[in-house]
């Protein structure tokens, strides 16, 4: 049941407990309990909205992908450095990756200047960080599984027998 509920919520955080109860075939009270437990277990982390900020006036956003080569610490490996990097709020996502670098950061900030500051004044000074490569995002096409543009879709016939 948990899996069914998560599938519904992952796609639509708006779904009400009553709706979910109908879809899964249990009582609304049971759904509430399962969701509460999942929140407690940090299976459900947060309910968010996928926003296309480019279409909203005002707040400019700059996105950057930053590759970081690090020297793992003898005891804690990559985790200690990663947890330090993760503390910065402009770091939206952080992954340990295989390949030519170790950490991959998705950084979102107000300007290129601010991203540059973050790299030179914060990131570069963390012990164990050996090299960084910053890629500024020129255009976002798809985020969290959603196409940012061209969302009008194709029109269906409204009545078909």
């Amino acid at each position: 049941m948990l899996k069914d509920i998560l599938k519904i919520l992952e796609n639509d955080a708006h779904a009400s407990e009553k709706q979910i109860a109908t879809m899964v075939g249990v009582s609304a009270a049971e759904v509430t309990n399962v969701i509460k437990q999942a929140e407690k277990d940090r299976i459900i982390l947060k309910y968010k909205t996928v926003v296309n900020w480019d279409k909203a006036d005002g707040d400019e956003q700059v996105w950057a992908l930053i590759e970081v080569k690090v020297k793992p610490e003898p005891e804690a490996g990559f985790d200690a450095i990663a947890s330090r990097v993760a503390r910065y709020e402009q770091v939206r996502s952080l992954y340990l990756a295989s390949g030519t670098y170790d950490l991959l950061l998705v950084v979102v900030d107000k300007s290129e200047h601010k991203v540059a500051d973050f790299v030179s004044q914060n990131l570069a000074h963390i012990d164990g960080v050996q090299a960084t490569v910053t890629h500024f995002v020129l255009k976002r096409y798809k985020d969290d599984g959603e196409l940012l543009d061209g969302g009008e879709g194709v029109k269906r016939q409204q009545v078909v027998l």
């Binding site: 109908t22 879709g153 009545v159």
Partner: protein
């Protein structure tokens, strides 16, 4: 229902005049100038075809794969269809001679009727039924014979009711389960009873199983998989509903070689072959589309539960449809005819549904509502309909 008299009327054949125009033309006209309509009036998935399936067709076009295929369809597609039917239902049909790839089930249905019917032959079918059923029989100069079904039996059909309609002229029985418009399914036992009647009277059963994959409880029973029915069965299937491929127009007919040979003759002189890119897409669908089907069916099932509960809650009694993507609630609490209900609902609340009467006399008092639309739209449609029902309740 011919419109105005015209000097061109004399050119229109009796055959064409014998089928009535679709019962929903009025709604098309009304819908033309309306905005913010929520439509539960469709008959297709709200998904686009999974991209990897579309991409297979795109790639084939880039390679210049734009010629005719064999009349029967690309051999690989027939091989895969044969394998699919074996894996799914344990039935064995040869890719060569027993499978014909068609332009959707619509064409397959037309071919089946034209291949087996002589003028005056009777075909027994349920009332209500999909609109092309009686039309395809009439166009083949046969005579459709109706067996009443009702919400009391969840719109399943009883073999004895079919047997009661058999005459010396009966040639075939046409069934379509899961059903458009009702969402009804048939249990294996009911199908076995029906098979016994068909064999006893040596009738052909044409089984339209386009909605087979959209079965929400238990497994779909393929009519052709019942013991000893092979020589009495024409099985029709396709890709439109399960793989969200309605616009591609590709389906198949599966039957004993004599039948397929007759159908292929008509097919080759009228259609040549199903569109090549669509056949390529269908190949990809059968090879790798299974996870997509499973995911979409799960999603339809969730919405099915919401809409059925919703109708019952707002006072439109709705039996539980166990297949397809239609709910078929009764609108009798309003005292209106289906057509009046549907028209008034569209005008007053901008929700489009299809009057049950468009599918036969026994559909009167019901409306067909497709739940292959977003959950948000289903909720909003239910809100609007609740207001409407309250206002018009007798």
């Amino acid at each position: 229902m011919t419109a105005k008299k015209s000097p061109l009327d004399k050119f229109i054949s009796k055959r064409a005049n014998n089928v009535s125009p679709s019962g929903i033309r009025k709604f098309f006209d009304l819908l033309q100038d309306m905005e913010n309509v929520i439509s539960l009036g469709v008959g297709e998935p709200d998904y686009a075809t999974p991209w990897h399936i579309s991409e297979a067709a795109v790639k084939s076009l880039e390679k210049g794969y734009t010629m005719y295929t064999s009349n029967s369809g690309i051999l690989e597609l027939r091989n895969l269809t044969s394998q699919y039917l074996k894996d799914k239902y344990g039935i064995s049909y040869k890719p060569e001679g027993e499978i014909l790839i068609t332009v959707g089930v619509s064409e397959a249905l037309d071919l089946a009727m034209r291949a087996i019917l002589n003028p005056g032959d009777e075909v027994i079918m349920t009332d209500p039924h999909y609109v092309a059923y009686d039309a395809s029989v009439i166009l083949a100069e046969g005579k459709p014979v109706m067996v009443r079904t009702s919400a009391k039996n969840n719109f399943a059909v009883e073999a004895k009711d079919i047997e009661a309609k058999i005459t010396a002229k009966t040639k075939a029985i046409l069934i379509g389960f899961p059903s458009n418009p009702t969402g009804a399914v048939m249990t294996r036992q009911k199908l076995l009873d029906l098979a016994a009647v068909a064999k006893k009277h040596n009738l052909m059963v044409i089984s339209d199983e386009i909605y087979a994959r959209l079965t929400y409880e238990g497994e779909h029973t393929c009519f052709a998989s019942l013991p000893g029915v092979k020589n009495n069965t024409i099985l029709l299937g396709g890709f439109s509903k399960a793989y969200a491929m309605t616009g591609w127009r590709v389906g198949y007919a599966v039957a004993p070689p004599e039948i397929i040979a007759a159908m292929t003759k008509i097919h080759q002189y009228t259609i040549m072959c199903a569109p090549t890119p669509a056949q390529v897409a269908a190949i990809e669908a059968l090879k790798t589309g299974e996870p997509d089907v499973v995911e979409m069916v799960e999603d339809y099932n969730r919405r099915r539960k919401v809409i059925v509960k919703g109708f019952n809650d707002i006072g439109l009694p709705c039996f539980e449809p166990k297949g397809a993507f239609y709910a078929f609630p009764s609108i009798t609490p309003t005292g209106m005819t289906s057509e009046r209900f549907s028209e008034a609902l569209l005008k007053e609340e901008k929700v489009a549904v299809v009057p049950g009467s468009a599918f036969g006399k026994c559909g009167e008092g019901f409306i067909r509502c497709c739940y292959a639309t977003s959950l948000a739209d289903i909720e909003e449609a239910l809100n609007r309909m609740e207001r409407f029902v309250k206002k018009h309740k007798k």
